[in-house]
């Protein structure tokens, strides 16, 4: 409607937009968003999982701040969580949502990671995407481990005690590292206090810039296509615009995730055990969270084969080696066509999935 020759009086909103646009370059962003496309193929479903992970992280930030309103670390930790769960209106729901969302977040990140792995989306130029993603997964598991202690009930107490045995197995510096994390020789109010600082300040401060970097890379390079699509000529490949087509689907996925979360959090409220007491024996059937079950079980199995300190050190070494190989995949699986080497990486991935699932099943099987 407005032409360049005549100065047509603008609406107030238009004038504000122009003012901001002139300074921040919004129309460049809008142009960028208009040109962004997302490939469509048989494996497109897996593209949603990064977005779902992002959404659940936002849920964690939001519910985490709400819990922070009443949570008190240190000696009062258990009492304050009891208050949140049983005294404050809907406190049980907020806490339940935070705990369930933490689990769903780890699950979504794992699905995202394996889909990236099998689509070979870590190859040039996306190596940094893979590396930053692995670092984010590492931080997410430390988030999970530190958050698990904060209610200071029986389960969190023993889980932390057992979990801190893992750094103990590092040769030479192990005991020092463990007691630095623990804040003394035993899990106590000092441990809760420093895990709290880690959970709400240190980890977010590391996670957020890394997440920004990860998302920036996704914008820069776009979605990778799996090798089966890559072999097709360009004109046979299909894609949809990001704005608004893919974004709409993405938001629909967020809504579905939120509904699943709300259902789980309200129908299966997260329990609060008895207050941690080092004099009360560990409850029967105690076991790590599902996402720590596999490494726990692997170490246990290896301990049966190689008993004693040697087995512990061998376990840690083997673990470090396996994770190292996994992280470094972009540097040795570099061939673009689906040749022999590419297949080797594929089988390594299948082996990793199988080992994770098998040891998790064995872990849960042997509890009973």
């Amino acid at each position: 409607m407005s032409t360049k020759t005549i100065a047509v009086p603008k609406t107030a909103a238009g004038a504000v937009y122009d003012w901001v646009d002139e300074r921040l370059g919004l129309s460049e962003l809008a142009a960028f968003a208009r040109h962004k496309t997302v490939p469509v193929h048989a494996q497109s479903f897996w593209y949603y999982w990064g977005g779902i992970s992002l959404f659940l992280f936002l849920v964690q930030c939001f519910t985490g701040v709400l819990l922070l309103v009443y949570y008190r670390p240190g000696v009062e930790a258990y009492e304050s969580v009891r208050q949140i769960t049983f005294v404050m209106h809907f406190g049980w729901l907020i806490r339940s949502a935070h705990a369930w969302s933490a689990n769903l977040l780890i699950f979504a990140i794992l699905v995202h990671m394996f889909s990236v792995y099998f689509m070979k989306a870590y190859r040039k130029p996306r190596e940094f995407g893979w590396l930053s993603g692995m670092a984010l997964l590492g931080l997410a598991s430390v988030f999970g481990f530190s958050g698990y202690l904060l209610p200071m009930d029986e389960l969190s107490y023993f889980a932390t005690k057992v979990g801190l045995q893992i750094p103990m197995a590092i040769p030479w510096i192990g005991p020092m590292v463990a007691s630095m994390l623990r804040g003394g020789p035993e899990v106590s109010e000092f441990t809760v206090q420093r895990f709290f600082a880690l959970h709400v300040v240190v980890l977010p401060a590391l996670f957020l810039p890394l997440l920004g970097f990860h998302l920036w890379l996704v914008q820069r390079y776009g979605n990778a296509v799996p090798p089966s699509e890559e072999v097709k000529p360009l004109r046979e490949r299909k894609s949809i615009p990001f704005m608004p087509n893919f974004l709409r689907k993405d938001l629909a996925m967020w809504l579905i995730s939120l509904n699943i979360l709300a259902l789980l959090a309200s129908v299966f409220p997260w329990a609060l055990g008895r207050q941690a007491d080092s004099l009360v024996p560990a409850p029967a059937g105690i076991h790590p969270e599902w996402y720590f079950m596999s490494p726990f079980e692997m170490l246990k199995l290896l301990g049966n084969v190689l008993p004693g300190e040697f087995g512990e050190i061998a376990g840690i070494l083997l673990f470090t080696l396996g994770i190292g190989l996994w992280i470094l995949i972009p540097f040795y699986d570099i061939k673009r066509e689906s040749g022999q080497r590419a297949r080797a990486a594929h089988y390594f991935g299948l082996l990793a999935v199988f080992a994770l699932l098998a040891t998790t099943v064995i872990g849960y099987w042997t509890i009973r």
Partner: protein, 166 residues
Amino acid sequence: MSDQVVLVDEGKLELTSEGAAERNSRRAFLAAAGAAGLLYTAALAYPIYRYLASPEEMALSATAITEVTLKDAQKLPLGSVLMFRFGPSPAMLIHHADGRWVGLSAVCTHLGCTVQYESQADRIHCACHGGVYNAYTGANVSGPPPKPLTLYKVAVNETGVEVKRA
């Protein structure tokens, strides 16, 4: 914006009953979707509001308290004050030099600081902005306070002092 208006106008010119029905059903759909979205947001916002408002509600039940018994307060010396909590808010029990007992709210009516009884001047003073109250009636004497302090009923017996809302 004006482009759309023009389109709508053109549509009006060749309006069929089918087109009207379609537009009505689209309008109905948008209204339903908007209502569903509002309900959804409300369902999320309600528990969060109640959660954050919990301490306020607890304080409200404390405000419902209409009397406080101060054990052994009858032993309060002449010319001195006992600060206590009346429900959630601070209050003061003054035993004047002439033997009279006075119970008053200790929240300054200006900006809510806790006021102080000064026995030498036999007055109540607020250090924040220099408000002065009468120590017998709670009347605002000078300075910024717009209203007197709330006066309570006081009953002294052998075991303590009962303070009641008037």
